[in-house]
């Protein structure tokens, strides 16, 4: 059994370097500091190569509305985790947990969605799982 396992470990060591996540790296996101943002969904872009949530966030002090662009996994991946094109609809209020862009711009990578009724949906972003693993992204 151990021998078989070691065999797979060796495969892993060989395979990983040749494997990459789909499309691009997530290095631009600050995975050490997830934040929550609450707002109104302006648009849910259910398209390849990545989904995007356009979220209108109102600054509590200034009242200014800032549009955030939150990147998620492809519809192909999300649909196999029970998402659909209607998982988010324009006008609904949500709280998103995201890894923000390192450069401070209003953008990030989605981790979870909390709906108005408290339901939490995992977006299964590569950064939200064990990144030492290759495999489905």
């Amino acid at each position: 059994m151990m021998k078989t396992f070691l065999k797979y470990i060796i495969y892993f060591a060989i395979c990983l370097p040749l494997t990459s996540i789909a499309h691009h790296s997530f290095e631009m996101f600050d995975r050490g500091n997830p934040i929550n943002i609450s707002g109104e969904v302006r648009e849910f872009q259910w398209v390849n190569p990545h989904t995007w949530i356009q979220l209108l966030v109102t600054d509590e002090q200034s009242g200014e509305v800032i549009e955030w662009s939150i990147e998620g996994r492809s519809p192909n991946v999300l649909v196999r985790r029970d998402w659909t094109r209607n998982t988010l609809v324009p006008g609904e209020k949500v709280t998103l947990t995201i890894y923000p862009l390192r450069n401070g711009d209003p953008g990030g990578a989605i981790i979870t969605v909390e709906k108005a009724d408290g339901t939490i949906i995992n977006a299964d972003t590569p950064t939200a799982v064990d990144t030492a693993e290759e495999g489905p992204r």
């Binding site: 892993f12 370097p17 190569p49 662009s69 693993e133």
Partner: protein
Amino acid sequence: MAKKISLNCFLLFIFLFDYSAYAQLNENNFDLSGVWMNDNTLDERLKRAGLTRLDPNAPNAPPPQAVGAEILTDEYRLIYDREQERLSQLAVGTAACGWQGMPRIMTYPYPFEILLSPGRVTIIYETESQVRRVYLDRNEHLPFDELDPSYQGDSIGWWEGDTFVIDTVGFNTITTVGRGLPHSEEMYIVERWQFIDEDTVNVEMVISDPLAFREPLVQEIVYSKRPSWRIREYHCEENNRDAPDEDGQRAGGLAENLN
């Protein structure tokens, strides 16, 4: 009438003859057809070894051993270095679109569907709807005149026991083999698709290139069937907000660039 019957008999004969070319392919009637998914997560690998993460015998995942530029010949190391220099000018997270081709298409994290027809195994990838055609009805590659360099190359296949072997030559040099490693038109790939059980296959790929690599690259990937999945579209150009603009930034990454 007799003529019609004899024609039908002839067609039936042709059908049966051709059918036998792919129906009796391997000893245990393992079936390549269906939707397959790359299945190399740590949990899946542990499961195949009869272990779980909680098992005291299960070691942590080893650090990745990067198969990197050191395998390249001097000439191709220069090509690699120039490309890395170009990429370093782009903002982190930018990504252009393009076909992955072989062998990278095999490691991409989306499924593929295999269709069987007489003399042919056809692999349709979800990624960019790329298609590979593996010819069972000839045992030689296309002659050089017809072997136009391509993303997927020219593939011939045959069974050895329970292992489906694919031999591929004739690649263009637009693609990499992964990790940015370039290759030449001389690259050739031998894949051995060995069935572990009826729903699981281990694919060993030996990627050789007498011009670009000092030694062959070997990679093994396990795929398993996903009977309930259907292949969807995945076209990177559909809405690529991460494409680099003239300044090397992510052109459409933020809201103000949307309209």
